[in-house]
């Protein structure tokens, strides 16, 4: 009798566990939201807070979309931070006013599209470079992007002579700082990008193939997928995302320096991991990535709101990442 109730309770517990495992991502987000709402006495749920959160996380969201795609192909990208930094610097350098004596191109005023194009192009080129190293050079993504990380860092320092690229033109700053009605521009860009990536991953052959490549590269090859090309495209699109991230970061801050986006690779990788994109490849979706970004954002935001010492913030973030990966592993490592 006692035995029976015990097993019934066990089964119920298992069911709850299964549910929790399946929706870890969403549950984490909801639980955090509840905790924060209580701790801030509702402050975290006011529109102004949500708006601040959207603005704060938007650039990281672009980075997360990029690296999310790469992780789906079972890759990884360590170069994000410095590539975004380089893109921001390149974009900023073309957005300085002609009459600013500290400008990188003194006395030259470029049309507004140039910084945007230049920033995005820089990111895309770096993405394709990473892609070529991984797809055709057969380098492990970890090493390939570690190398390009260092290259991006060096290029940034050389290009800017290690100086701040600041005093950007107001028209350029408007791109990242403006808003349409109550909605910040940045949030709109993220929404559009998320929809586009969703279409890519869910509704195109190219995107679906990323899952196959990440799920089992050999089987993908047998299935007629041009694996090398697919990887190039994945890293290229990721680079494009970083380019946009860098351009927006420059616009939003009104400057770029060598510390811009430092450590963003870890933030982005952590966010998508929390969002259920598995490091074992072939698993993940845009909804999860975005939830992951805003989960990490909530943590940042809540801790700032509560003025918790940043040292503790680091620890809490670390624990959340470890937990997320722990559940991820449990979910997929059976057998």
């Amino acid at each position: 009798m006692a035995n029976k109730t015990k097993s019934a309770a066990g089964i119920a517990l298992k069911k709850v566990g299964k549910f929790a495992a399946k929706y870890t991502t969403y549950l984490t987000f909801v639980v955090l939201l509840v905790v924060l709402a209580i701790l801030t006495r509702g402050g975290a749920l006011r529109w102004i807070s949500i708006k601040n959160l959207l603005i704060a996380e938007s650039v990281r969201a672009f980075a997360a979309l990029g690296v999310g795609i790469i992780i789906i192909t079972k890759g990884i990208d360590l170069s994000i931070g410095f590539v975004v930094c380089l893109c921001a610097s390149v974009a900023a350098s073309f957005a300085q006013p002609a009459d600013y004596s500290g400008a990188l191109f003194v006395g030259k005023q470029f049309p507004l599209f140039l910084p945007i194009i230049a920033g995005i192009l820089t990111g895309t080129v770096f993405g394709l470079f990473n892609g070529a190293l991984v797809a055709y050079g057969k380098l492990p993504p970890f090493i390939a992007t570690l190398g390009s990380m260092s290259i991006a860092k060096g290029l940034q320092l050389i290009y800017t002579k290690a100086a701040v690229v600041g005093s950007l033109r107001p028209e350029f700053k408007k791109i990242g700082q403006g808003s349409i009605g109550p909605i910040p521009n940045l949030a709109i860009y993220v929404l559009i990008a998320a929809i586009l990536v969703w279409v890519l991953l869910k509704h195109t052959k190219t995107g679906t193939n990323f899952y196959a490549i990440g799920g089992n590269i050999q089987a993908a090859r047998v299935s007629g997928i041009k694996v090398e090309l697919g990887l190039m495209v994945a890293y290229g699109i990721a680079g494009l995302c970083y380019g946009i991230a860098g351009t927006l970061q420059a616009s939003r801050l009104g400057l770029a320096n060598s510390l811009t986006a430092n450590g963003m690779e870890l933030d982005a990788i952590a966010a998508v991991t929390v969002g259920g994109v598995s490091q074992s490849g072939g698993v993940g979706n845009v909804g999860g990535m975005m939830i992951g970004v805003f989960t990490m954002g909530l943590i940042n935001y809540g801790m700032t709101y509560l003025a918790i010492n940043s040292y503790y913030q680091q620890i809490v973030k670390g624990l959340i990442i470890i937990l997320a990966v722990y559940f991820d592993m449990r979910k997929y490592s059976k057998r």
Partner: protein, 502 residues
């Protein structure tokens, strides 16, 4: 008090969520005997063994080693107690030497607590002698053949004073000579009083080596029999639970039709692989490819499909020469390949049945805006899997959660969805149970009757003879002959398969 049995597993029950994997199973193994454990895939053999080694915790029942109750906490723990497992996939460190592998984790030490390399070297030679292996202890493990690696593994077990040795499909990658050698070792082990639990699908082997046979089905122990009381047919019917007289469907005579695939003078870029292979495949024909391990059959079909490089030769599909041998091109021309190693080159383990089925044919399901038509993909994946009788809870179930036979059906469905004229099946029934095998044969026959051409690579002689209109035999990468239906005997196939160049 010593028991009559080396190992007794009594009333073992193991419950997984939703599945009763083992139901009150008893297994008693006597020392000094080879005890075969038989059953279809999913019958519970592996689960039972995992309970023995403590990898799973049984829900009920107890395990006795020579009459003493024991609970292992893993294979390492069991090994120290004298119960060892020779895995199907060998678990060694290929980059370390034979000696290092043998004594891993218990290296002999000098007084100063450094590794005593001299003793390790000498002990290794001593232990290897037990399994008739004459190799240097300093050889890198990865550089010797699978069969020798296996012997090393057995030597390792013996060096632990093993009393019980479990072997899971030990012959799956061995040549006939190697199998004979292995059997010799097994008999030596048996004669020295060790209890050997032998898990295999191969009937012939069981009748050669086993003294006793225990048959499992659907998580239950059906019974334990002396080998002398059994015949092949009886054993099969015990495993399947029904008679299997009709093992192969009637594939009919060789069709007199057009050639759909022509391979001429194909030579691999890899040294010592195949050279100068020529053959033709007709519409509606099933062409078997036979040969011993190392005959380069897989290499040949994978090269035709463009996965491996070729140096020379041409491939024609429906009269059209294929310019570049590349999977995407072959698929476009109506060729599909079901690879030999499902896990490595077939499955996308963490993807759903739907996605696993549709991967190579997505190009056919684009709408005007070049986006995927998910509804149509959905209905077609359901249709093909239904036609093949794939058993799955839902189409969204991850393929890794299906049994081997059902996984294979999903992969067949995958290729049928590309609407192929030619289907190359490399070991289509490997690692799947008897019942599912029969279904696969029926599917192959139906496809051939529909006019699809099939190339079947197989290591199982009866399958090769039962399911082929013609058999091409390879030996060491050379084509040694093509047999028509009336010439197909085991002897003929074997003769061609073993016609090595002097």
């Amino acid at each position: 008090m010593d028991s009559e049995y080396a190992i007794e597993m009594l009333g073992i029950t193991k419950q997984f969520p939703g599945v009763l994997a083992l139901n009150n199973v008893d297994l008693r193994v006597k020392p000094g005997s080879v005890h075969a454990l038989m059953g279809e895939n999913g019958a519970g053999k592996s689960t039972l063994m995992k309970c023995l080694f403590g990898i799973y915790k049984e829900n009920a029942g107890k395990i006795l080693l020579f009459g003493k109750e024991c609970h292992f906490t893993g294979s390492g723990d069991a090994l120290r107690a004298g119960v060892s497992m020779i895995q199907q996939e060998l678990a060694n460190c290929p980059e370390r030497t034979v000696a290092q592998n043998l004594w891993m984790g218990r290296e002999p030490m000098t007084k100063l607590h450094f590794i005593d390399h001299k003793k390790m070297h000498d002990d290794t030679i001593k232990v290897l002698k037990n399994v008739d292996l004459d190799i240097s202890p300093e050889t890198r493990m990865g550089s010797i053949s699978i069969s020798k690696q296996q012997s090393c593994e057995i030597a390792r077990a013996v060096s632990y004073n093993a009393k019980v040795v479990v072997m899971d499909e030990p012959t799956s990658s061995l040549t006939e000579d190697e199998v004979n050698h292995l059997f010799k070792i097994i008999r030596q082990l048996r004669d020295s009083g060790i209890a050997v639990i032998y898990i295999s699908h191969k009937m012939d082997e069981i009748f050669q080596i086993a003294d006793t046979v225990s048959v499992m089905r659907d998580g239950e122990m059906i019974g334990t029999y002396p080998i002398t009381d059994l015949t092949k047919d009886k054993l099969i019917s015990l495993m399947v639970g029904r008679d299997s007289k009709e093992r192969f469907p009637d594939i009919g005579p060789m069709p007199k039709t057009n050639v759909t695939l022509k391979v001429s003078h194909l030579t691999s870029s890899v040294d010592r692989s195949f050279t100068d292979i020529c053959f033709e495949l007709h519409k509606g024909e099933i062409l078997g490819i036979g040969g011993l391990v190392g005959a380069q059959r897989t290499e040949l079909v994978e090269s035709i499909f463009g996965i491996r490089p070729v140096k020379d030769g041409e491939v024609f599909v429906n009269g059209k020469k294929i310019g570049k041998l590349e999977p995407s091109v072959l698929i476009k021309n109506g060729v599909g390949l079901i690879t030999e190693d499902r896990r490595r080159t077939g499955l996308f383990p963490m993807m759903s049945i739907t996605n696993n089925t549709s991967v190579p044919s997505l190009g056919q399901y684009l709408n005007k805006m070049h986006l995927l038509d998910h509804r149509k993909i959905g209905t077609d994946t359901v249709k093909y899997n239904k036609d093949l009788n794939t058993k799955t809870p839902t189409m969204e179930t991850l393929i890794q959660n299906l049994s081997g036979g059902n996984q294979q059906k999903v992969i067949i469905a995958r290729w049928l969805m590309t609407l192929p004229d030619i289907l190359i099946m490399d070991e289509p029934t490997r690692g799947i149970d008897v019942g599912a095998k029969h279904e696969i044969y029926m599917i192959m026959n139906a496809l051939a009757k529909q006019g699809k051409s099939i190339i079947m690579v197989s290591s199982e002689m009866p399958e090769l003879i039962g399911m082929s209109h013609r058999i091409m035999v390879l030996c060491e990468g050379r084509e040694t002959g093509i047999l028509n239906r009336d010439q197909m005997t085991q002897e003929n196939v074997l003769t061609l398969a073993a016609s090595f160049m002097k």
